[in-house]
Symmetry: C2
Subunit: 358 residues, 2 copies
Amino acid sequence: MEKIFSYSQLLSFTYNIFKAIGCSDIDATTATKALLAADVRGIDSHGVARLSGYVRLWEAKRINAKPEIKIVHETPSTAVVDGDSGLGLVVAPYAMQVAIDKAKNAGTGWVSVRNSNHFGIAGYHAMMALDHDMIGMAMTNASALVAPTFSIEKMLGTNPIAVAIPANEQPAFVADFATTTAANGKLEILQRKNADTPLGWVQDKDGNASVNANELKHGGALLPLGSDREHGSHKGYALGSIVDIFSAVLSGASYGPWAPPFPAYIAMPENQPGKGLGHFFGAMRLDAFRPADEFKQHMDNWIQRFRKAKPATGHDKVLIPGDPEREMEAIRVKEGIPIIESVVADLKKVGEKFNIAL
Amino acid sequence: MEKIFSYSQLLSFTYNIFKAIGCSDIDATTATKALLAADVRGIDSHGVARLSGYVRLWEAKRINAKPEIKIVHETPSTAVVDGDSGLGLVVAPYAMQVAIDKAKNAGTGWVSVRNSNHFGIAGYHAMMALDHDMIGMAMTNASALVAPTFSIEKMLGTNPIAVAIPANEQPAFVADFATTTAANGKLEILQRKNADTPLGWVQDKDGNASVNANELKHGGALLPLGSDREHGSHKGYALGSIVDIFSAVLSGASYGPWAPPFPAYIAMPENQPGKGLGHFFGAMRLDAFRPADEFKQHMDNWIQRFRKAKPATGHDKVLIPGDPEREMEAIRVKEGIPIIESVVADLKKVGEKFNIAL
C-alpha cells in the first residue's frame, strides 16, 4: 500500500521539519534538496524514509542543526572539512563545493570530511560537478554492517562510491553503488515482504551462507561485493576499505567498526578514534586533461557504443550507469512519488512533534 | 612442472631482451623491474610469462622501443602524458612520477596517459607513491574480454584498479584487482590444468552461465565483478567503465571495444577513436590532509583492528589487502621464482632470437 505525493508536497514538509529542528533557511533548503533527490531517483531507502531517523539523531544531540562547517586544512588541490556534527545533507554539499572551487584553480579538488553524519545518496553530491564540466566523485563511510572476507565480524559500512561524468548530447554517466553485493535498503524491502534474499547477500553469525533477510538482527552480516572469496569478495572488501580510509582516516573521522550508527537508539562505539562519520569528494575539470567539448563528444561516442552492445537473450538493451535513476526521475517528477504506508505513518508522527501537517 | 630461477637470473635475462629490442639502458632497467615485480609478488600471469608477448608487439611495430614520452597538457594537479607507443612498463613509471611531482606542489597529482601499451601489474606503479608518504593509485584499460551486464558482447578489459596506502609500523595497504569476478590469468591457470571454472566467472556466447575455462575462445566473455545482476555485476561493470573512461577518454587513448589487443596476431580494431592503451595514475600527499605521522599511526590502528576481526570457521585470520603478495615476495626473494615449463620454453625461444641464454 502506497500513497502518492507530489515533489512539492514532500519538499515543503521536509523543509519545515528541518526548520523546526533549528536549521537556517539555507541549510534546510540544502538538506531537503539532497534528501529528496533519493526519492525522486527511486532510491526510496535513502529519502524521506530516513527523515525521522535524522530527527532522532538531533534529539539524541548527535546532530547539530546549527553547525559551523569549516575548512581546517588545505593545499591548492585538497582540503579537510570539519562538519561540526551537522547534517551530512548540509555538510556534503559544502564540501563538494570546496572540491569544485579547488578544481577551478588547481585542475582537481579533493576534500576529506570529518565530524559529519549520513549524507543521503552519494550520487547527488557527485552530480554537483556536472554543471561545471567536471567529473564528480563522492563516497562515505557508514556504520559497520559488512564482514570482511574470511570474517564474521561487522567491520565496514556499505560504503558507497559515486562517480558522475558529463557527456554532450547523451545524459551523464552516473554510477552510484554500495560496495556490498546488495545495499541494505534492498534487504529492508525484502524484510517488509517477508521474502528471502538470494544466496550471496548475507551470512549468518557463524559465517554460513543464508537467505534470511533478517539475518543482520541475529548477528549476521552483509557480504562485500563479490559475495565469497571464489567470486571476488576480497575485491569488494578492498573497495569498502578504500572508501573507509579516504573518508575517515584521511580526515580524522571514526573508521571501521567505530563509525557512528545511524539509528539513534544504538550506543556510540566506545573509544572513538576520530570525530563522526567521514566522506570523501573529488572534482576533476575536464579541460585539465583535454578540451571539454572533445571529451564530451567522446563520452557521447562511448555511451552510444555501449548502448549498442549486443544484448543477451531476454534483455532488450544494455544500460549505462544512471539510466534507471534518470528514467525513474522523469516518471516521478510527472506522476508523483509513491511512499509506502509505514513511511507515511512515520512521517505523520514526526510532523505531529512539531505541529507540521503532511 | 616448474623450474626455479633466482630474481637476478630473471633480471639479467629480461634486461638483455629489452636491450636487444632497442631500449636504452635506463628504459630496459625500468621495464625489467616493473615486469618482474609481478613474478616476485606471485602474479605469474603478468610477469616474464608475458615477455615474449611484448617482443611480438615490438616485431609487429606496435611497440616503440625508443619512445619520446612527453607531457602534452597540464595544470597544477593534472597532466596528460603521451607514451609514443612505448612499453607500458616504461611509460607508466614515467607518468606515475609526474603524478608524484605534481602532488609535491599541489597536494595531489592526477595523470591520464594515452598511446601506451600493457603496463604489467597496476600495484607496482601505485606503490611508487609509498616512499613519498603519499597514497598511490594506478589503473589501466585493456583489450575487451568482458561483457557488460545484460550483454553478450565483449566491451571492456579486465581494467584493474590499484590503491597503495602507507602505514607506520604495519606494512602498507596495497589493493590491486581486476574489476572482473576473476582475472584472466586465473582462467589461464585452469586452462593449463584442463579444469572447470566456478560458476559466475564466464558466460558462453549466448550469455548462459558456463564453467568452461576456454569459453572466451568460443565467443564467450568474462563477467564483471558481481557475476550477475542479482549479485551486483552492474557495479563491476560500472567500475570497469570508470577505469576505461579515466584511462582512455580523459587522455585520448582508445576505449571500450577499441582498446588495442595484447596478442600481436589479433588485428587492431578498426576506426580507433584514440591512440593506444590508456592508463590513469594518482598521488595524494598524506600531509595535504593531516600530518603524515598522525595518518600513518591511524593506518596502523586500522590495520591492526581489521587483523583482529573475528575469523569465520575454517579461517585463521582476516587478511589486509597486499598481505598475500607481500608474503609471497618474502618467500620468492629467498627461495627463487618458480616458472612453469611452458613459460621456460617460451623464454628460451625468445632468447634464441637474440642469442641470449636463459
